[in-house]
């Protein structure tokens, strides 16, 4: 079951903030976030396990609300280097380890 991401695309000016959401209709064990720059491979950002945790990576942080089966990625004071496509990936709670699925991606463009 592919997770849903919103928005599909977002354009920011340098220094602005953005939130990318990821949601699933299934109970989740974990949510993963990756960033892919144009012409490059996806790069891991962070994993959030059930328990409602939050994590941070530079000025990028994320939260996971397992009751709502949702995760949000927060990008604060965005930099030009943040441009790329952000993918969430989910592992369902009833199929641990066997069913990792990426969302369709959110394209983020940071302009000077």
């Amino acid at each position: 079951q592919q997770p849903v991401q919103s928005p599909q695309a977002v354009i920011l000016r340098e220094g602005e903030d953005a939130v990318i959401n990821c949601s699933s209709s299934k109970a989740l064990y974990s949510v993963h976030w990756y960033r892919q720059k144009h012409g490059e491979a996806p790069v891991f950002l962070m994993i959030l396990l059930k328990g409602g945790e939050q994590k941070g990576h530079e000025k990028i942080s994320a939260s996971f609300n397992e009751k709502k089966q949702q995760s949000s990625l927060y990008l604060t004071a965005s930099q030009l280097s943040y441009s790329g496509t952000y993918f969430c990936g989910t592992v369902q709670a009833d199929n641990y380890g066997q069913n990792f699925v990426f969302g369709p991606g959110t394209r983020l463009s940071v302009l000077p």
């Binding site: 064990y29 892919q36 491979a41 993918f87 380890g97 066997q98 069913n99 991606g105």
Partner: protein, 113 residues
Amino acid sequence: DTAVSQTPKYLVTQMGNDKSIKCEQNLGHDTMYWYKQDSKKFLKIMFSYNNKELIINETVPNRFSPKSPDKAHLNLHINSLELGDSAVYFCASSQGPGAVQAFFGQGTRLTVV
């Protein structure tokens, strides 16, 4: 040292041909994957091997056949290539299946003409 390496990086071939893409990882990981990324950027898992054993085999035409000679290698062979096979194919590896960090290779851009 490249953690996950794929060859070739670009592959242009005619319809009907058979081609292979090779992948090697030097991270000591147990699990390896093949993903297909189409023109709309959807990343779809095709296969996953854990300790050389196939654990995920998504709905993929049987023209695609993975082979894992050892834990560090996962190759993808494609028979009778079709125009719709054109995409970027990524190999990835992780310490275990599912809930762990995956490292991706640089991708192989396959163009079928």
